[in-house]
Amino acid sequence: MLKKFVISGLLMLLVGCSANNSISLDVENISKDLVEKLDLSEKVIKLDKEDIESLLYLDEGTLDEGILYLSNTNTSDMVGIVSSKDINELESTVKQYIEDLKVQNTNYFPEEVTKLEEALIEKKGDYVIFIVSNDNGEASKLIGELK
């Protein structure tokens, strides 16, 4: 309960809202804090926007901002916040990436498929936030409270 309150408070402080739906996210700190609160710190490596473009097979320069914490073992845990001028296309790319991971994990790591099926993928202004963890339900509530 306390954890949920702290995360909510942190997100509210770090996310600025304006009347015309344009928001500015402190991508660096939000992603870092989500990783810590979801207890993923020891399992992930941090990718910057160039790495993410390579990972998602995006053209160089597609992303305006991007941080992705990604598991460097065979789990599918991740916390990502990315932004682009074409947010709908970016959301579609992220969704396809998650779908591809489900396929790849089906044969070897079926337990990850369940996690991936519950992946959180949300648009916030020009940002796409995507999270795969053992606590996706909790993360979903926290992001949802920002609407």
């Binding site: 097979y57 990604l70 065979n74 591809d100 790849q104 994990n105």
Partner: protein, 240 residues
């Protein structure tokens, strides 16, 4: 007379240096690579197993079959289950604690084989996959080792890809492997003549789940690798 003619012949063939008194033979030799990188490595006489003392084979779980059936145990075999190319410098091998990218870049072995691409077979197109492969191969080339890219045999099924589309997808990814090999002057291997039947799919006896080798399949694939070695035989030294 004979001595004069021999002397004259030597004089004409060798030339004289300015610091004379002494006639020196000077020649410049260069090594030329006559291999045709547009084509797959042709079948050759089988190499001895000891060739694989100096081989690193890296890739996805298909490489795991060699480990499972103790084939080519003198080679360095590194595989990561479900590995896709875009994770090659991210996912760490659970025992070796490093990425396949780093392990291949830093190995002391002089023959590098890369077997990857089957886990991405469900992709729509492979243009950007090929760009990533090209980048990695260019990096590998800086090691100045012999590099072999292994094309995929046609599997029976792939999760997320309808059976009737699997063959087309394998052809697409293999075409990209061929292009990258040709553009970077590295070798590529086509195992189909050894592994694939008239129906265009890998022989069912060679794979236990439609994808991964049985013991028999791993033996056949080992023979394929042993009989398709390029390298020094195509390099000739030519001297002026």
């Amino acid at each position: 007379m004979k001595a004069f003619l021999i002397s004259l012949l030597l004089f004409l063939c060798i030339g004289c240096s300015s610091n004379s008194g002494k006639i020196e033979y000077s020649a410049s030799c260069k090594k030329y690579d006559f291999y045709d990188y547009k084509n797959e490595v042709p079948e050759t006489e089988m190499v001895d197993d000891s060739f694989f003392d100096d081989v690193f084979i890296g890739g996805d779980s298909r490489v795991g079959s060699f480990v499972l059936y103790n084939q080519l145990s003198n080679a360095t075999l590194v595989y990561i289950d479900s590995l896709s190319l875009n994770m090659i410098d991210i996912t760490t091998h659970k025992d070796l604690n490093d990425t396949l990218h780093n392990l291949m870049m830093n190995t002391e072995k002089n023959n590098l084989y890369l077997f990857i691409g089957i886990n991405e077979i469900g992709m729509g197109n492979f243009d950007k996959w090929a760009i990533k492969l090209d980048e990695f191969v260019k990096e590998l080339k800086t090691t100045e080792k012999n590099i072999y890219l292994i094309q995929s045999y046609t599997i029976h099924h792939a999760y997320g890809t309808p059976h009737e589309k699997v063959k087309d997808k394998v052809i697409m990814v293999n075409e990209k492997i061929k292009e990258v090999a040709e553009n970077n002057f590295v070798y590529y291997l086509n195992p189909d003549p050894y592994l694939v039947g008239e129906d265009g799919y890998v022989f069912k006896d060679y794979v236990y789940d439609g994808i991964h080798f049985t013991k028999l399949g791993s033996e056949i694939f080992k023979d394929f690798l042993k009989s398709h070695v390029a390298g020094e035989k195509y390099v000739k030294e030519i001297c002026n």
